[in-house]
């Protein structure tokens, strides 16, 4: 411990409210030496990066060769040995269930993740977020920010969109230990567990947001609501590993604009030729038109949106965006869909049909908030 941190620990000790059985010594007063055998304590407080207590971390304390069972942490993320420690030897503190990059003592800096372990290849439904959660990383960034993944990130700019078969590097060690003096309180920062969210914007065939639509989500979460003015459905804190869901949407009824009153001018004499069309003279019956009254159901394949720079990422976005329908589109179908996109969205007179030509524009329109 540096002198500075030692001093900080001292201050921390001095500001503490004292542990059980310990006399409180007002600041500035001289402590009264105990005439009996002196007992010692160590206290740890586990917080996340925002200062919120972390209760689920499982610290391991070893003092004087003896392991101290520190779990569970209390509601304040605190564990206090009380004056039970016989010696003054520093206590070894670790979080065996956490990767090294997921915690650090508050008096030390955060260690950058090092991708020294290869993760299993990405399967359908996987993304950095789900994989991190599945593998016990406190944050997707443990993986995502590992410099060993920088090359991959060139073509996978979003942690939520990888490509099946991608292989990521991730920090592999959970062996980190720190030693702290007794009779002091030590604060440890453990990365918070932040669940991902679902953000879906429902748009119409012109890609305009559909506001005020009733929706019901099942599977990944059970929620109901109405789309916002921007057509957004946002579900926070979803199970990061959930891969399936069903979203039912009931579009709002169409807005029927009042038709301007029809004024029938008098027929001049002689009548003009050709005479003005009188719609009422046509007696054909309008085709049956069914209103969309039952909710429309989307089957959500969560985590299955590949990176946009990959062909599968383009086709998946095209399906979401309504330019492709087949489950396993042929090249011709893809080409036709790309052309349609280029004509309608990009307003190109000479569409190429090459998916690479739309991938950036499509990503922007599909994904950008």
């Amino acid at each position: 411990m540096s002198s500075k941190s030692s001093e900080k620990a001292k201050q921390s000790l001095e500001k503490s409210t004292g542990s059980s059985g310990t006399q409180t010594v007002p600041v500035g007063q001289t402590s009264q030496p105990c005439p009996l055998e002196q007992k010692h304590y160590i206290r740890i407080v586990v917080k996340d990066e925002t200062g919120k207590p972390v209760k689920d971390a499982k610290p391991k304390l070893v003092g004087g060769g003896t392991t101290i069972d520190a779990a569970p942490l209390d509601d304040n993320g605190r564990f206090d040995t009380g004056k039970t420690l016989d010696g003054t030897d520093p206590v070894e503190i670790s979080f065996p269930t956490l990767f090294n990059c997921d915690w650090h003592a508050s008096d030390t800096g955060e260690a950058a993740p090092v991708g020294n372990t290869s993760l299993p290849p990405i399967a359908d439904g996987d993304c950095v977020i789900s994989l991190a959660a599945a593998k016990g990383y406190r944050s997707y960034k443990d993986i995502w920010t590992a410099p060993e993944n920088n090359a991959l990130k060139t073509d996978r700019p979003s942690p939520g969109s990888l490509v099946v078969g991608d292989v990521l590097k991730a920090p592999g060690s959970k062996e980190k230990k720190v030693t702290k003096p007794v009779d002091a309180e030590w604060t440890f920062i453990v990365k918070s567990l932040k669940k991902p969210k679902l953000r879906i914007i429902v748009v119409d065939h012109e890609r305009k947001p559909l506001p005020n639509c009733d929706w019901t989500l099942t599977g990944v979460a059970s929620k109901t609501g109405k789309t916002g003015a921007d057509g957004l459905i946002e579900i926070l804190d979803i199970d990061p590993t959930a891969k399936d869901g069903t979203l039912k949407i009931t579009p709002p009824p169409p807005i029927v604009r009042p038709e301007p009153p029809v004024t029938v001018p008098p027929v001049p004499d002689p009548p003009p030729y050709p005479m003005a069309i009188k719609a009422g003279d046509f007696k054909d019956e309008a085709p049956d038109t069914k209103e969309l009254t039952v909710p429309f159901e989307f089957v959500l394949k969560i985590g299955s949106l590949p990176a946009h720079k990959h062909k599968t990422g383009v086709t998946a976005r095209m399906r979401n965006y309504g330019f492709l329908t087949a489950d396993n589109p042929t090249d011709d179908q893809i080409k036709a869909g790309v052309k349609a996109y280029q004509r309608e969205i990009e307003k190109k007179d000479a569409p190429t049909g090459a998916f690479a030509d739309i991938q950036e524009d499509l990503e922007t329109r599909h994904t950008k908030a």
Partner: protein, 748 residues
């Protein structure tokens, strides 16, 4: 409906979204176009505006077969929900489509997402095989012009859209078998037209003159058609064309004069009137409003199909002031032609001869446009069969609806067999209308009983005036000697002028205009003289036994008055040889006075009276009608006797409408004995059934003349400038039994 979408998780510190589209499909635009001209796209209420804008016109038009247009439509269906489409063609007031083009056979390209253009030349097709679209201008192009015509639909006999049904409504409907509720809108429509540019009349070919199973009538009608053709054909609006009905119909006995036989015979000859094939050549507007003459164009006439054309007529006011002139005759005719003119339940109103007087006015049965079956269009016409189907209109009972030919010799034309009344003086203006506007199912807008039809100038064409005339022919004019001036040539204008007032043309079509050539003339003359002299002593003295009658311009060569008196005196001398010369002279004078021949003038008159019938019989003996065609033959003597001729004495018999051997109902002869137009007119008048009026001569038929007109040319009351109105109408062909001799009574 369920649809799989691919959703990325969003890290808690990021904000990416997943945009998902609720799958829908829509017809975004639908119209027809050629170049920059388009029809207007209509989409159901609540739909977004048409993708290609709200422009366009409801009167978009083109000519099927002649022009190829584009059917343009745009489908939004990126989700692939559409499983078919159909194009339907509607016309007003018919619930069911005239034609449906189901895209099923054509293939999915036809309803794929995006822009589409179908090349179409108005043809009706029924596809049986798939047709892939071809890329064009960012969309797909299709081509219906490569598909065979479907001629199985009765509405489109040539396999093309026709002029019969505009305005057309094209409706395109998208079909989604499983996801119809995701379509908004699923259909759209547009209107388009086939427009007429105008008409041009022409006289139909002679083959088109209908044969009514009456060879004589057919020949009369063919001759009439030829006459109209020779005189310029169909009159332009503002002009008049005489319809001259050859009607050499004459009495066959004097007893027929003053009877209604002329009406009966004329009716027998011309019945309900002539039949004149009148055609209208149809011109359409192409997409640039330029005129396309269907009769000349190699393409486009197929657009006629079963289109109907209304043939109508008006009865213009007769101009009696110019035709007859002022006077009692005009008054009489005016009263008669105004009969029931204001009758409210008779259409069309007018002043032609009313059905009550033998005409067609007010008669909804005896239409001017008799129904015709027509026959299938052909390159060779069938003689005696009218080519076009003609049906009587439903409400406008005096009008007719005719169809046209889309191909064949008369392609691009419609027409009627125009059958005006036979009554001379009747006149008509015909109008042809395009009759493809309806007010209800199967109810033509123009098929109404309103007298004046309201129609734009473009869809109608009016002829000039057809004016019915009778025609009688002078076919032979024989002068006893060429020393007689050619009276007919000199006076034909004046003669015609008289008959013109009866709308009757006296045609000076003499095939023989000669000096009498009769080698046996003297024999014939002496035989006839003998019938006179045997009972008439004066006449006996007037004739020299060896006189050469053939050398005289008169019927008989008589002694001059001096020779006559000398012959009489010599007779007294021979029979009274003892008398003195003075006594002989006294006896002669007494005899001359007793026989009313004491002066040369009296001698001339007495001999005229004595020999006139012999002269008329002599004319009969000459058999002048042998080999002569129908018409009037005139035998012109310079008086019956040379005695009158020598004095150029007007008093005497001027002419006679005699009944001779060889005369028929259709040819007659009269003898002209004195050069006088009124006589010439009068004698023809007799032959056309006109009787004398009085008070001179004593014998007359008062019931066949205007009681108020004593100057009728059929009287001897000179001056006698014209026929009376009653005669005029009789000559025109009216039923005299339905006329009153009192003018005012004929008005109502």
């Amino acid at each position: 409906m369920s649809r799989t979408v691919f959703i990325a998780r969003t890290a808690n510190d990021l904000d990416q979204v997943n945009r998902i589209v609720i799958p829908t499909f829509a017809l975004e635009d639908f119209r027809v176009a050629i170049g920059s001209k388009t029809s207007k796209c209509y989409l159901p209420k609540g739909s977004p505006g048409p993708k290609a804008g709200t422009g366009g016109a409801d009167d978009f038009h083109f000519i099927p077969e002649k022009e190829t247009i584009e059917i343009r439509y745009q489908i939004h269906d990126t989700a692939g929900l559409v499983t078919g489409a159909k194009l339907e063609l509607f016309t007003p007031f018919k619930k069911d489509p005239l034609w449906t083009l189901d895209f099923d056979k054509l293939g999915a390209d036809w309803w794929a997402h995006g822009k589409h253009v179908i090349k179409w030349d108005g043809r009706i097709v029924k596809p049986t095989v798939e047709q892939k679209g071809t890329d064009k201008d960012g969309g797909l192009e299709h081509d219906l012009t490569k598909i065979d015509l479907d001629k199985s639909l009765k509405d489109f006999p040539e396999g093309y859209a026709t002029l019969e049904f505009p305005p057309y409504k094209f409706r395109l409907t998208l079909v989604s078998k499983d996801h119809a509720e995701h379509g908004k809108p699923i259909y759209g429509w547009t209107y388009w037209q086939i427009l007429i540019h105008g008409f041009e009349f022409e006289l139909g070919p002679k083959e088109a003159v209908p044969d009514t199973n009456d060879p004589t009538a057919l020949q009369l009608n063919i001759a009439l058609r030829k006459k109209i053709e020779d005189e310029g054909g169909i009159p332009a609006d503002g002009a008049t064309r005489k319809v001259r009905l050859i009607s050499n119909i004459y009495k066959t006995a004097s007893a027929e004069m003053g009877t209604n036989q002329g009406y009966t015979e004329y009716k027998t000859m011309w019945g309900n009137g002539p039949l004149i094939p009148i055609l209208a050549k149809i011109r359409l507007k192409d997409s640039n409003d330029a005129e396309v003459k269907l009769d000349e164009s190699d393409k486009g006439a197929v657009a006629l199909g079963n289109t109907q054309f209304l043939w109508d007529f008006e009865d213009p006011d007769e101009k009696t002031d110019t035709q007859i002139g002022a006077g009692q005759a005009k008054t009489f005719v005016d009263d008669a032609i105004h009969y029931k003119k204001a009758k409210t339940d008779e259409w069309p109103k007018g002043d032609n001869c009313h059905m009550d007087r033998g005409g067609k006015r007010g008669d909804s049965i005896k239409t001017l446009f008799p129904e015709q079956d027509g026959y299938a269009a052909a390159d060779t016409l069938t003689e005696g069969k009218f080519p076009f189907e003609v049906k009587k209109a439903k409400k406008r009972k005096w009008a007719a609806l005719a169809k046209g030919w889309s191909k064949g010799k008369l392609k691009g034309r419609t027409g009627v067999a125009f059958s005006p009344s036979r009554m001379a003086g009747d006149d008509y203006q015909l109008t042809v209308y395009l009759a493809n506007e309806f007010t209800k199912l199967d109810e033509h807008r123009l098929d109404v009983a309103d007298e004046q039809l309201k129609a734009a100038a473009t869809i109608k064409k009016k002829t000039g005036k057809f004016q019915v005339w009778r025609q009688m022919d002078i076919v032979k004019y024989v002068r006893k000697k060429n020393s007689i001036g050619n009276f007919v040539s000199t006076n034909i204008g004046a003669i015609q002028a008289n008959y013109n007032k009866c709308y009757t043309h006296i045609e000076n079509g003499q095939i023989v205009n000669e000096q009498l050539n009769a080698p046996n003339y003297n024999t014939l003359a002496r035989n006839r003289i003998a019938t006179v002299t045997s009972s008439n002593l004066a006449a006996d003295f007037a004739v020299h036994p060896t006189a050469d009658h053939s050398a005289s311009a008169s019927a008989f060569k008589l002694r001059t008055y001096a020779q006559f008196t000398a012959a009489v005196r010599n007779g007294f001398v021979l029979s009274n040889p003892t008398l003195s010369a003075t006594d002989i002279d006294t006896a002669l004078n007494n005899w001359l006075v007793a026989n009313n021949v004491e002066t040369d003038a009296k001698y001339a008159y007495a001999m005229d009276m004595a020999f006139v019938f012999a002269a008329l019989n002599l004319a009969d003996d000459l058999r002048l009608l042998n080999g002569v065609p129908n018409g009037i033959t005139v035998m012109h003597f310079n008086c019956a006797t040379s005695a009158r001729a020598d004095l150029a004495q007007a008093v005497g018999v001027a002419g006679a409408a005699i009944d001779v051997v060889g005369a028929t109902r259709n040819k007659c002869l009269f003898v002209l004995l004195w050069d006088a137009v009124d006589t010439f007119v009068h004698e023809i008048g007799h032959h056309v059934f006109q009787a004398h009026f009085g008070p001179k001569p004593d014998a007359f038929v008062a019931g066949q003349h205007d009681a108020a007109d004593l100057a009728c040319i059929m009287s001897y009351n000179r001056p006698r400038p014209d026929f009376c109105g009653f005669c005029m109408l009789r000559i025109r062909g009216w039923d005299s039994d339905a006329l009153s001799v009192t003018s005012a009574s004929n008005k109502s």
